[in-house]
Amino acid sequence: MYNKKVMDHFMNPRNVGEIADPDGMGEVGNLKCGDIMRIYLRIDPTTDVIEDIKFKTFGCGSAVASSSIATEMIMGKTVEEALKLTNKDVLKELGGLPTIKVHCSVLAEQAFKAAAYDYATRHDKHYAALENYSPEEAEHDHHHDEDED
């Protein structure tokens, strides 16, 4: 079902856990849809570089793997750079997900956005990518394509 890279990230997820007193934190998803992801950020306020990132995920294999690889991709980038990452990048880095699971990769993108927004709000930072962002509307949007091929 999943390729080797996805399974590796699922079995050995990178950056699982929490950060005490994080500079930013975001959570998306809901119980109804069956996947929830929370991201914690530690950011250097002068350089804006993401020095540490941790996640917790409730969800299926691809939700966990997407979370894991996304944190790897985000770590060390500036917030600005990291905000450019989309679920397409996550998918590509994972080497693809089954069609019905593609929506899981959106979760990571959304969770990071929410955490970055939290950081921006608390530290009075402004990012072009977050200009029209509203945490309410950012509810992880599920568009399951049930076709199996």
Binding site: V16, L31, C33, D35, K56, T57, F58, A63, V64
Partner: protein, 383 residues
């Protein structure tokens, strides 16, 4: 790594005796039972013997057994029979049926039929009284599954069949999970039709049957040649049917021992899990239950992840979680027994069978704790 297969309700491995019977038929009994030459007549004789074997397992007459390509076809066919032989537009079923009943009924709703989906209790069961109360003037069919494929509860189908009979309404039961797992005696009940599938009783895939009580009017679902007394066309799958018959024979001979042994393993597995893992809910009826079914929901974790981690240990299980089916919601069964999304997502079905050993059960009990623990540590929901 050793495979520990605990997904017998999804499908069973074939028993060696069954494989041998089918393989022998492949080599020596390839005839078309409609042919009058000796190769065809040989097939015809074997077909009749197979029909007798399957009939014996459920106390039916051979001519009440009609072979099909599986449980799904049998379910669809039973509905078609009611539709085409009875005037009326109303059908009664339950909200926890297999999709092989629910989906054809949904298609009928679009064509103007009315379907009552009876709500179920916390065990996924309906009562004869509920069924009686739902009957309308133009009810043509009542279909209630014998044993639920997810949570293993056994419905009181014999009593429900009586209610149906009193009202002169056809009663069908999806017996796919019941066959070979509880005693069934058609000569002592009033069930009009029952669906069966060979691959759930250690027989081959792609073979099933519909029991149709003598006297019930029949029409085909699949039209063509004159096979199966002209109501199920298509060259008979003789080797497959022989395999079904062999599986039925073994099931009949071993029924008591099978039930006893499995129930023991089942309860051991249940206790091993429930005594060890907090925040877990055991689903399905405590006693009126499939002998090999264990169904648990673990709070804070999601079913697919659980299955994947179990699979890494060689343990094959199943889940009614949303993610395994590619749908948004957890299985309709778990929703309909009143579980919240929170708990329903973390569902795990372990179904045991004749090749399951005490060791297998012990291994699963040992492995499952740390896996649930690990997922809970990763979960943002864990309190």
């Amino acid at each position: 790594m050793k495979t520990i297969y605990m997904d017998y309700s999804a499908t069973t491995p074939m028993k060696p005796e069954v494989i041998e019977a089918v393989s022998d038929a492949f080599k020596h009994h390839y005839g078309n039972a409609s042919s009058i030459h000796h190769i065809g007549q040989d097939a015809k004789v074997l077909l009749q013997q197979a029909r007798e074997q399957v009939a014996r397992l459920i106390g039916a007459e051979p001519r009440e057994i009609f072979f099909t390509a599986g449980g799904t076809e049998s379910d669809n066919w039973a509905i078609e029979i009611a539709l085409e032989t009875k005037p009326g537009k109303h059908i009664i079923t339950t909200s926890v049926e297999h999709h092989a009943i629910l989906h054809p009924l949904e298609a009928l709703e679009k064509k103007g039929y009315r379907v009552t989906y009876l709500p179920v209790d916390e065990y996924g069961m309906v009562s004869p009284e509920q069924v009686a109360a739902a009957i309308e003037d133009d009810t043509i069919l009542i279909s209630v599954m014998y044993i639920n494929n997810e949570i293993g509860s056994i419905n009181p189908v014999e009593e429900i069949a009586e209610v149906a009979a009193q009202h002169g309404i056809l009663f069908h039961t999806d017996g796919v999970q019941a066959l070979g797992n509880i005693p069934i005696d058609m000569s002592a009940n009033q069930i009009s039709m029952m669906s069966m599938s060979a691959h759930k009783i250690y027989g081959p895939k792609g073979v099933g049957a519909l029991y149709i009580r003598k006297g019930v009017r029949t029409v085909p679902l699949i039209y063509g040649g004159a096979q199966e007394r002209k109501v199920r066309a298509g060259t008979e799958n003789i080797p497959g049917i022989i395999g079904f018959a062999k599986a039925a024979e073994l099931a009949r001979e071993n029924l008591t021992a099978h039930i006893e042994r499995l129930s023991g393993l089942r309860d051991k597995l249940r206790d091993g899990i429930m005594n060890q893992i907090p925040q877990a809910k055991y689903n399905g009826h405590p006693t009126k239950r499939h002998p090999g079914n264990v169904h648990v929901c673990f709070k804070y974790i999601e079913g697919e992840s659980l299955l994947l981690l179990l699979d890494m240990k060689g343990i094959c299980a199943s889940s009614g979680s949303a993610c395994t089916s590619g749908s948004l919601d957890p299985s309709h069964v778990l929703m309909n027994i009143g579980l919240t999304h929170e708990i329903a997502h973390g569902s795990l079905r372990l179904t045991l069978g004749d090749f399951t050993t005490e060791d297998d059960v012990a291994t699963v009990i040992e492995e499952i704790g740390p896996i649930v623990q690990r997922l809970r540590e990763m979960s943002p929901l864990t309190e």
